[in-house]
Amino acid sequence: MRVEEDTDLVRTLGLDSTTLINLLLEIEDTFDVAVPLNALADVQTPGQLASVIHDRLPEPG
């Protein structure tokens, strides 16, 4: 399956609470950024997830 920016994480990919937490752990380690579980409450797509991560990345320079 091809995952697009607007693929539904829950309905299409079957993300449940456990996989969501594992995804969060991977995000933190990959991007060196703290993303609280609460910040994902309204996230439904990879695009929205990317935006949440991007907002928390340190300013370059």
Binding site: D16, T18, L25, E28, D32, V33, A34, P36, L37, A39
Partner: protein, 397 residues
Amino acid sequence: MMSLLGKLRRLAETREEVLGKDDAPFGVPVEEVYSATEARIGGRRVLMAGTNNYLGLTFDRRCVEAAREALERAGTGTTGSRMANGSYTDHLALERELAEFYGVSHAIVFSAGYLANLGMISALLGPGDVALLDADCHASIYDGCRLSGADILPFRHNDPANLDRRLGRLGERAARTLVIVEGIYSMLGDRAPLAGIAEVTRRHGCLLMVDEAHSLGVLGEHGRGLAEETDTEQDVDFVVGTFSKSLGGVGGFCTSRRPELEMVRYASRPYIFTASPPPAVVAATRAALRVLRTTPALRTRLRDNAARLYKGLHELGYRLGPDVSPVVAVVLDTPDVALRLWRGLVEAGIYVNLMLPPATPDGTSLVRCSVSAAHTTAQIDRICAAFAALREHSSTG
């Protein structure tokens, strides 16, 4: 957007996909309870090996008599919260005895173990604070964090170095962080590396809470749990626990050397807005705590039984959790295989727990046994024999 009832209907479809028409694994009718280790299910006498009844005290005469006396003396219920209806003598005595048992100055009793986590975490944390919890923590801990409004940051299960990195990333916010772990994790029966976690937590200047729900009465020379066993009690700010496992009742508690714990009574909605535990339950719990304190042989018996079952299942080639504990979890390849093994065991007269995602770590499917000090050696061997007979049909993950 799915309708309110549509969500429940979707759940019904998922249930049928996994279980077929049979929903027995999640709500077995227990027709009669004969003892701490035997009950009638489906008209047959079944060996209970999935009850969390670690010390086997549910039928202990001292606990039953204490409950009966309190029932006659103080009635069936308190009909309200302690803030509104007052604290009964037994509530205050239980809190004194818990504080004394843990060697601290303060204890608070909640009406359920679930409420203890909800009540403590939501009183300690608020918006802007941080909950840094082990990713495998129990749902009650996650729910307490949600209720608090704090930022919820899980760290990798049993990984102090990962906790250290996450605390480092928080900078000054580490001072407003509560680190939360469990003594024994309920799904796989593994223990927290508490010495390492306590060291990291102390170095970053955070508070540490340990949920000893599955380790009270199980670990430590005096049965106080993992903090006692690992000599880290001085580093733990709050111990949370339950009466519904080793103590055979229902209810929860928190103990602490910190006087601020007393103010939780004014700050904790799950403490204030629910009825206090009924007198009979509190009296039985006090009696069970006395038995726990005065009968170390129960812990020895429990450890021997746990080791025997773990060794037996390991020798059969089943994949198990990493530590020997009263929670002996068998890891299966798929929910189907786990369901088949669970049904086979029940047919063989052995009751255990079926655990499926998302309640389990990493999407695993588990058949979980819990061992009791009340199990005889012959009963442990019967459990092993039933697993042996089903081994070739149970591919293990």
